[in-house]
Amino acid sequence: MSAVSTIEWTEEFARAVRRLIDVSVDDYYNPYRTFEWPETITPDGLWMSRELLSVYGTAAEQELSHEQLVELSRWESVNLYSLIAHGIRELLIEVMRRIHTPGYEIPTPYFHHFIGEENEHMWFFAEFCLRYAGRIYPDRRMVFPTDERAPEMNNFIVFSQILIFEQIGDYFNAHMAADAKLPETVRAVNRIHHRDESRHIAFGGKLVKALFEEVRRTHSAEEVEEVGQYLRGYIDLIIQMLYSRDAYQDAGIANPTRFRAAVMADPARAAINARIIERTNNFYRRIGLFH
């Protein structure tokens, strides 16, 4: 498939790729030696910043004891890191499909760093879940055959999904890296991920912008509008995944399905969800997809 062979990579994009490669090389670390993995994580403190918990600000939060909040923070961490691990697997598959194929000659040198770093992120997030919770939550998404579109549209959607996923994940990572109340191991995995992701997000933004220019050249305004709706749905899906029935159940909350519905519908959550996706919405407004 030479779907992007017509893409005009600008000199600015090529310069950014070279710059990001230099930073990746300079910042390279051995993840298998970077982290200290203590036997246990502080059992009586939160594992996730309170303001990042899915119940924050809701009526349901008031009903939970401190012990229940701690337990919930533990399982919501597992949910977040599991989502990140599953998301990385999916994005690696898509980048692997494109590396060293016609049309991707310019970004390919950076793809090597991206793939290497993402593999390492997947390892340390999975390691955290398996060491301290004994499990990774399963991926509850499903890819439908009708998601396939024209190649250039498909490329734009795939790299948009990667970018959206990384931006939303980074909202959590950046916050937890800076939260001095959290256990050091929690802060460390979030800190390292945030540092690497700032490069990936910078790269992803430039790549998605170039792919969107291609979509605008080759598709009608209606088709562009439709893909915008699709990506809004994808953003909403990621938000929904932050409200995990599995996490509520493992935290010992009675009737987790109803609890999830009540928390998601709580009026306090709308403004919080809007903050989580603010960076993404601003990006798509800037490139001209969202209005």
């Binding site: 499903m142 439908f144 399905t257 109803r258």
Partner: protein, 76 residues
Amino acid sequence: MEEIINWIRSKNPDLDAEITGDTDLIESRLIASVSFLEFIGLLEELTGRQIDVTSLSVADFRTIDRINENFFAPVA
């Protein structure tokens, strides 16, 4: 099945056609990947059971008849 049809209609407010037992919900995009998680949540609520998505495929959700067969019939 009425709750499921109502949910599908709520996601597709412009839909005029009738949804029958063998309407292809996937090809017609009445259920999309981006709303799938919400759909699974609805199924779990209606059946009272947790659904292991990893053991299922798109075909298991293709029509109302298949959904009925896969998620509701075994309980009876």
